[in-house]
Symmetry: C2
Subunit: 473 residues, 2 copies
């Protein structure tokens, strides 16, 4: 018998319906994580009622609804059993039970599905008119004139060599030394991290993340059934005492972090923190995934863990979805040669080859001198937008955690007593997608924080709606 | 203690070096599959020697080499232990130990990495000049004129609606009824199957495949640590007695198969087989993945399992990599609405969004009337190439398993006494990539079979090299 009661339901939920829902959710979670396997017997009504501290009728109701959903099965005279066909992996059932409004998928789905006229200060990317559209049109026309092979054939397993060569030169600018054969092209930065997780993680392995961190790290790690431990994040990087303690206590397999501009805080790793962090990782034989997708927002390169480490235990990951195009994506992994070899087999197994045409397009834009000019103009425009956004937020009593050196994001605390999830829910009704703090927090300790994307805050209605939501929340 | 001896080494290997290699391989496999976890103690030298039926000195040698490779660690006075940092997932270490030349990755890597001048009758796709190059050029130019959003923004979670609508109309032509909200766009057919495996499989779950089957199914399922069981394949589909028995014995979670032209045999599922197969699947609550990537090669549609089943337990998967472009790929999954919902969350977690621009390109080609004309011309050209290839193979004494109604592939037996792996190895030295039978066979029962791609057999040197290899093998 493996059904342990979960935390007591919140007071607001402690109605009959709330109690039933709570029991159902707890049992579904046990089945999703396979702590209750296919065919497992569930506790009797009486025993279940004791365990969950509910009445027998609540327990009956919960079992009946689970049976109606074909999750469990009643065998007359014998009891209740998990249906033999195992439940699919439902990500929303893994991890802590959250209000759907602070589920890591909430911001993503709202942002991706929002109608064109919505305002999206909570989303993680720039509006189309901030992107190098003309460079892309030029790249498409140029590709339309090239040889048939690059239009129709699979690429090589590692991916387009001239792009890998270009990437090694870019990485060298931040001190990362890699040969082109140490670079594997994949479909996106997310796919890069996913491939690394497949390569290194077993279900149940512990992974450290920053708290707060990019919310999709949490979704991805839950999909790998990792045990996620958050490390409090400071303006100069992770809190190293907490990091060292977590390493000693949990013996994690991986630490996943952002270099350059940390998402969501916008903070930059200091040289001293980077050095001490690497010493702890080396002593504990810990592997680190350094996700560097914001590097093109940087004016001055911050320290890179991969540079300190020489790609021994650090796996460096990047993409161009934020500054070039999110429609034709390329991700890359730079790592030890033997790991690249294993990752390449996994890439073949899970996506066969590619993305060949996207690689040609991205290379064509990167080689074009106008991309560097685009980046310079974008950084100036973003710095101005950041200042303006900060001023407008200040008028509403919303204060940033730090003043980032650049990048897209302002991580802010709402005025005393406001819950960011409530504010986000109210703003959504007015067509504004916000990013409440707890979607970024594994410990759920950021209820009054919110991430703002300065490039998406140009429209003054963002602040009108926000002000109204603050008044009502 | 979990180290079980594996099958006795083949006679040719029963040298000292062979015995040591055998012990090392067996231990590595146990570590790769985590039946020996990090930190696990290995058997003592004496006990290991008994278990593997080797001399203690062979055992010492094996342990020393594993320790030198940092796989295990000697703790003086205590014994040998699996190193605490777990080994990454090395696909080549999973499944049976094979000659690298019949590894599922062999054909893929050789085909993808072969220099442009190589001949590739063993590869699974068409040469560039068989692909609709002009349609693609037109689509690229047209895309260069469209709005910025489709060039730079992430797509919606399900993917481009007009393409999903187009796909539902295409599927309706083979009797598959699906609404656009039951269709999820992904990066490729392989990624589609991978996502389904993530959704439905746990490590250790049993999956049925055809024997022979597309070799990358084996690689992909090994990456999911599935237990793979092969079902002998007949000219009208899987052997149903063997299928029913495997379902009863192994209680598989999934059956993965090709409809339309089966890879590698080129066979077509008969209506009677499809019907009986679905009855067995229904009775056992078995889920089926129907991979339909060869549908555009069909003149007359064969029965589709998804059509019989109404997308209840069949998940239908397709792509355009074989007939439109392998450089800008799109895969799709059609399934039950609640499964599409779970698959979409998994897609967001593992690749975030997309592929938006590839979807625009593929839709642009599909809508263009010239794509249908391209398909008609391609099928005629392929039928002629198939006839010519069959005649040339017959002159070398190579006989097809069946005469396929169409498609790319001829699955053939070599003349008596020839080993396809030896022939493939010799031909590779002459710049010809072949596909030896055992890469397709989970039971390794196709040592004298070989798959030929008729579209890649136009050059007469293919047959000169093949003849020479047959003489020498």
């Amino acid at each position: 018998m493996n059904v342990l009661p979960v935390e007591a339901p919140a007071a607001a939920e402690a109605t009959n319906a709330g109690r039933t829902a709570h029991v159902i959710a707890a049992i579904r979670a046990r089945i999703a994580t396979r702590s209750l396997g296919p065919g497992a017997k569930l506790p009797s009504i009486r025993k279940g009622a004791d365990l969950f501290d509910v009445s027998p009728s609540t327990m009956v109701e919960a079992y009946e609804r689970l049976a109606a959903d074909c999750v469990i099965q009643a065998r007359p005279g014998s009891g209740f059993y998990v249906l033999s066909s195992p439940a699919p992996l439902v990500l929303a059932d893994l991890g802590p039970r959250l209000d759907r409004a602070v589920d890591p998928f909430w911001v993503t789905r709202q942002s991706l599905e929002a109608p064109a006229e919505s305002l999206k200060p909570g989303c993680g990317w720039m509006p189309p008119d901030w992107m190098p559209e003309q460079d892309l049109r030029r790249a498409l026309r140029s590709l339309a004139r090239t040889g048939a092979t690059s239009l129709t054939d699979y690429g090589t397993p590692l991916g387009l060599l001239p792009l890998r060569q270009h990437l090694t030169r870019r990485m060298a600018e931040t001190g990362i030394e890699a040969s082109p054969s140490q670079v594997l092209l994949v479909e996106s930065g997310t796919q890069a991290i996913d491939l690394v997780c497949r390569f290194l993680l077993e279900p149940g392995d512990c992974v450290l993340v920053d708290d707060p961190c990019y919310f999709n790290f949490l979704a991805l790690l839950r999909a790998h059934r990792a045990k996620i431990v958050g490390i409090p994040f400071t303006p100069s990087g992770p809190d190293l005492d907490a990091f060292a303690e977590a390493v000693a206590t949990h013996r994690p397999r991986l630490y996943v972090t952002n270099s350059a501009f940390h998402n969501p805080t916008g903070a930059t790793l200091s040289a001293a923190t980077a050095h001490r962090l690497m010493k702890i990782a080396e002593a504990a034989d810990l592997t680190i995934v350094e996700d560097d997708i914001f590097c093109d927002f940087e004016q001055q390169p911050a320290p890179r863990l991969a540079a300190l480490d020489g790609l021994q235990r650090v796996i460096h990951v990047g993409s161009f979805s934020k500054t070039l195009s999110a429609a034709t994506r390329i991700g890359y992994i730079a790592a030890r040669p033997d790991w690249i070899d294993g990752l390449t087999d996994l890439k073949i197994a899970s996506s066969f080859a590619g993305p060949a045409l996207a690689a040609e397009l991205v290379l064509s834009v990167l080689k074009d001198g106008s991309y560097r000019r685009h980046l310079q103009a974008m950084r100036s425009r973003l710095a101005a937008a950041m200042g303006e956004t900060r001023r407008r937020l200040a008028r509403l009593g919303i204060a940033p955690f730090i003043e980032p050196r650049g990048g897209l994001f302002l991580w802010c605390s709402l005025p005393e007593g406001h819950d960011a999830t409530d504010v986000a829910r109210l703003a959504l009704a007015d067509g504004v997608v916000l990013a409440p703090g707890n979607v970024f927090s594994v410990s759920q300790n950021a209820p009054s924080m919110m991430r703002f994307n300065a490039a998406q805050c140009a429209d003054p209605r963002v602040f009108t709606v926000l002000e109204r939501a603050l008044c009502r929340a």
